[in-house]
């Protein structure tokens, strides 16, 4: 199942210092302000990344997550990777070998969530139609199915 929302791939400039980071953030801000933004930052060109650049990446991520979106990193150059590891930020992002892989990764989570809820001994959710009430059911350990509608 593919999600219909677009994935935006942005290429990060070669040098990411304070000035460049601000400029880049200005360019990305409208995308991050959208509903559930899906952003891939391509770091393949990055040759110099400083703490302002790392701060910018974290800012992008927090803004995206506020709106239930995500920011993923693609093809980080060795220089970028060294700085990400040095600042312990590499572990906060999902990092992919290419922008295509990163973009593809956005469209693969919903069906499994559905599958998970169909397993036994877990709460099941019936998604209501428009205007109806949400119903949450609990499965008793003994197997009795008690509906708490």
């Amino acid at each position: 199942m593919e999600t219909s929302r677009p994935v935006v791939v942005k290429r990060v400039p070669e040098r990411v210092n304070l000035k460049e980071a601000r400029q880049f953030l200005r360019a990305v801000e409208p995308i991050l302000q959208s509903d559930r933004p899906q952003v891939v930052l391509d770091l393949s060109n990055v040759r110099q990344l400083d703490s302002a650049g790392v701060d910018m990446l974290l800012h992008c991520m927090s803004e995206a997550m506020k709106r239930d979106g995500d920011v993923k990193l693609a093809a980080p150059s060795p220089e970028a990777m060294v700085v990400l590891e040095l600042t312990r930020t590499g572990r906060l992002f999902e990092i992919y070998d290419s922008a295509t892989d990163a973009a593809r990764s956005f469209s693969s989570f919903l069906p499994n969530v559905m599958r998970q809820f169909s397993a036994p001994e877990t709460p099941t959710i019936t998604f209501p139609s428009a205007g109806s009430k949400v119903t949450v059911s609990h499965v008793q350990p003994g197997g009795n199915h008690e509906n708490a509608a």
Binding site: N17, P78, V82, T87, N112, M114, R115, Q116, I125
Partner: protein
């Protein structure tokens, strides 16, 4: 007997890689002293009276380096001419034997035995070889054999007029061609595989600390590790897995240094993770990724001045600036008033909850609130 030495730093084509950010590996500190310092110290101990260094580089500040060392910086293309001239100068001033050694490659040599071997074999030229039979750039040349010496220097220690006698060493040399070799030499020295001993006191098994080093009581040093003279390791920092912190370095709060070397005068910022790297001169060389990254951000990696006076002045200035900064930040905190009431948006019930009726069974031993649900963000992972 008048034995003198010429130490060569650079000169060969492979020497182009034998440096880290422009400083030759032989001049970088390793466990408290540079290889150059260790070699000259050993030579002095073993009776070599005068030492000259011919280098393609300027002398790196090293207060431990012998003061009677004569330093010749050779101009481009003149390196071997300089070496030949120094040899002739020594020969004219009464030297009988001259030891010629090229740094780069490092091996611990017993110079007394080497000279004795040369004398016993009545050699004109003796060359040392390592445990595996590889020829080393370590020679003893009789001072009277100027033409032999000139031929050797003009052929960059590769060809000889007469075949040299070979003096076998018990050790295996480290070629020191890259910074990764330099790091390996540190680890081998911790393991006692080289003749290099850390300069400092062993405060617990495998942990050496040089005089003047300051380690915060909340910092962790895990053996094997070395903390150099006047280095500072601040609170909650961790130095582990054979890491080397050289003199006058700073490891700031919460930083983890793992399997790495921090070169002299380097300052590592707070909360960082330095692993499998050599850090120095505002560069980080990652040994696994084989990449050298210049860090222009002083919050991450910086370099202190090599002058003690400048460092003291800088410390005083930062201390003087700290007080007004702390006062200002306190004032700002007081001025910041907390809102009387929370914004309406926060207090209001979200529309999704207002339309939904969520009921649950009453269970005495309830552990989770029934309206809570744990869900993985990515169902496929």
């Amino acid at each position: 007997m008048d034995v003198r030495a010429i130490l060569l730093i650079g000169g060969k084509p492979e020497a182009s890689s034998e440096h880290f950010t422009g400083v030759p590996l032989a001049m970088l500190d390793l466990l408290g002293a540079s290889l150059l310092n260790r070699v000259t110290h050993r030579m002095h101990q073993q009776g070599i009276s005068s030492i000259a260094v011919v280098s393609e580089y300027d002398q790196f500040p090293d207060r431990n380096l012998s003061h009677d060392l004569r330093w010749f910086k050779a101009a481009n293309g003149q390196f071997w001419r300089f070496a030949e001239a120094v040899f002739n100068d020594f020969a004219q001033n009464g030297a009988e034997l001259i030891v010629v050694l090229r740094l780069g490659p490092y091996v611990t040599v017993d110079y007394e035995k080497l000279v004795q071997f040369h004398l016993d074999h009545h050699s004109r030229l003796t060359q040392a070889c390592d445990q595996q039979g590889e020829a080393l750039d370590v020679f003893v040349i009789s001072a009277s054999r100027r033409n032999d010496a000139a031929f050797i220097f003009r052929n960059m220690l590769e060809r000889f007029r007469v075949p040299p006698d070979v003096f076998p060493l018990d050790e295996r040399q480290n070629r020191l061609q890259t910074i990764a070799d330099f790091r390996r030499l540190a680890l081998e020295s911790f393991a006692g595989k080289t003749g290099i001993e850390p300069q400092g006191e062993q405060i617990k098994p495998g942990v050496w600390v040089a005089p003047g080093a300051r380690i915060h009581r909340e910092a962790r040093i895990v053996a094997p590790a070395y903390i150099g003279a006047y280095a500072r390791v601040r609170a909650l920092a961790v130095v582990t897995r054979g890491s080397v912190i050289e003199r006058n370095s700073l490891i700031d709060c919460g930083t983890v240094v793992e399997n790495s070397t921090v070169l002299p005068f380097s300052q590592i910022g707070a909360g960082l993770d330095v692993s499998f790297s050599v850090v120095g001169f505002r560069h980080v060389f990652h040994l696994q990724r084989q990449v050298n990254v210049e860090i222009a951000d002083e919050k991450l990696v910086d370099m202190a001045s090599t002058s003690a006076a400048v460092r003291a002045l800088s410390d005083m200035v930062s201390l003087a600036l700290y007080m007004p900064k702390a006062l200002l930040s306190n004032l700002r905190e007081k001025r910041r008033e907390s809102p009387a009431t929370l914004p309406e948006a926060v207090q209001a019930i979200p529309p999704s909850l207002s339309t939904a009726t969520v009921e649950h069974q009453d269970r005495a031993d309830r552990h989770f609130a029934p309206e809570l649900m744990a869900a993985r963000r990515y169902g496929n992972e």
